[in-house]
Symmetry: C3
Subunit: 142 residues, 3 copies
């Protein structure tokens, strides 16, 4: 199996209120010239846009929650796609009753507070290439 | 954007049954003189106390589940606040039907099993200061 | 409190579609001779098998979702048990309506996409031993 192993350094930062979460993470990765990293985020949003990938139709369904939610968990990664750092993040959010929803983060998520960890690779990381079987841009497996 | 980058070392440990999860993590951080870290936890609790922050009223609603739950995910950080290590953790827990609930961890959560990772910064980390806009003690953004 | 602190190196890899998630992670750990690590995974599954541990009866209830789900979060660890690398992973998954379910990952979970981070200890990690109080194989606390 193809695997990418490296030393890492870690970065903590907070995205300001009003930032689009996906844009803010992507900008932070580009500003730091990150080509490969693991990402964790906790905080809260004013609005959430996320999706579910239909493995048959190979299309995302988009869901929107227009209101306050806690970011109970967000994890994912930065890797190169089409020559640029690309952020892939999955989120779990919860509302005032505690019930959790989750999925694939999409543009259209407004940060209230986002405390971010980038665990950045010093060495080479995987590169995303379009994969016909899944319909997604994925890392190599061999 | 203000960011804090450092080498890290990692620590694995288990909190004993009966420990208050937030107290146990805070004590572990203080004992190890951790001033900045990322934290992950999995395990199970006998009781969960967690909250949802109301962005308008700037107050937490507290929710309690008085019974067994899996800790499906817990992530957060340690940073300095008022001169002491301060733990900020968000949890996702699930019951016997698998349904997930989540939010901001509060005192009053009793550990059954807690397997903990501290990813500890060697260098300087962010410090929490009261922020008027959000009503929260937050890291600097610039 | 007993704790295990070490430098780490990090590995990114993708498990191919059709892999059993728990088997695939265990094989990857064995192939890399990992004795201690923290693990994060995001992606999607075609089928999920997970469990809830009953703290009184000391038995797992097994739940199965036979269909597509996003892996919104998966975290856990590798440590030695009975002389072999053992993977303990907790998952949060979500369906087309966004609702999240979670618990203890079991054999019988079929990968569609699994993007994996291993954060591997260079030094000694904890070893699991059977614990009478909880009925589980756990790390030492002292």
């Amino acid at each position: 199996m193809r695997a990418f192993t490296s030393e890492t350094s870690s970065t903590l930062l907070r995205l300001p209120p009003g930032t689009d979460l996906l844009d803010g993470l992507t900008s932070a990765a580009k500003d730091r010239e990150i080509t490969a990293a693991w990402v964790n985020v906790i905080g809260a949003v004013r609005k959430l846009t996320f999706g579910f990938y239909d493995q048959e139709t190979k299309e995302y369904t988009t869901l929107t929650h227009d209101g306050e939610l806690e970011i109970a968990s967000a994890m994912g990664n930065v890797s190169m796609k089409d020559g640029d750092p690309f952020v892939h993040l999955h989120v779990v959010c919860s509302g005032t009753d505690g019930r959790a929803i989750g999925g694939h983060l999409m543009p259209g998520t407004e940060v209230f507070v986002a405390e971010v960890l980038f665990q950045t690779f010093r060495g080479e990381g995987p590169v995303r290439e379009q994969d016909e079987d899944t319909g997604l841009a994925l890392w190599p497996t061999d």
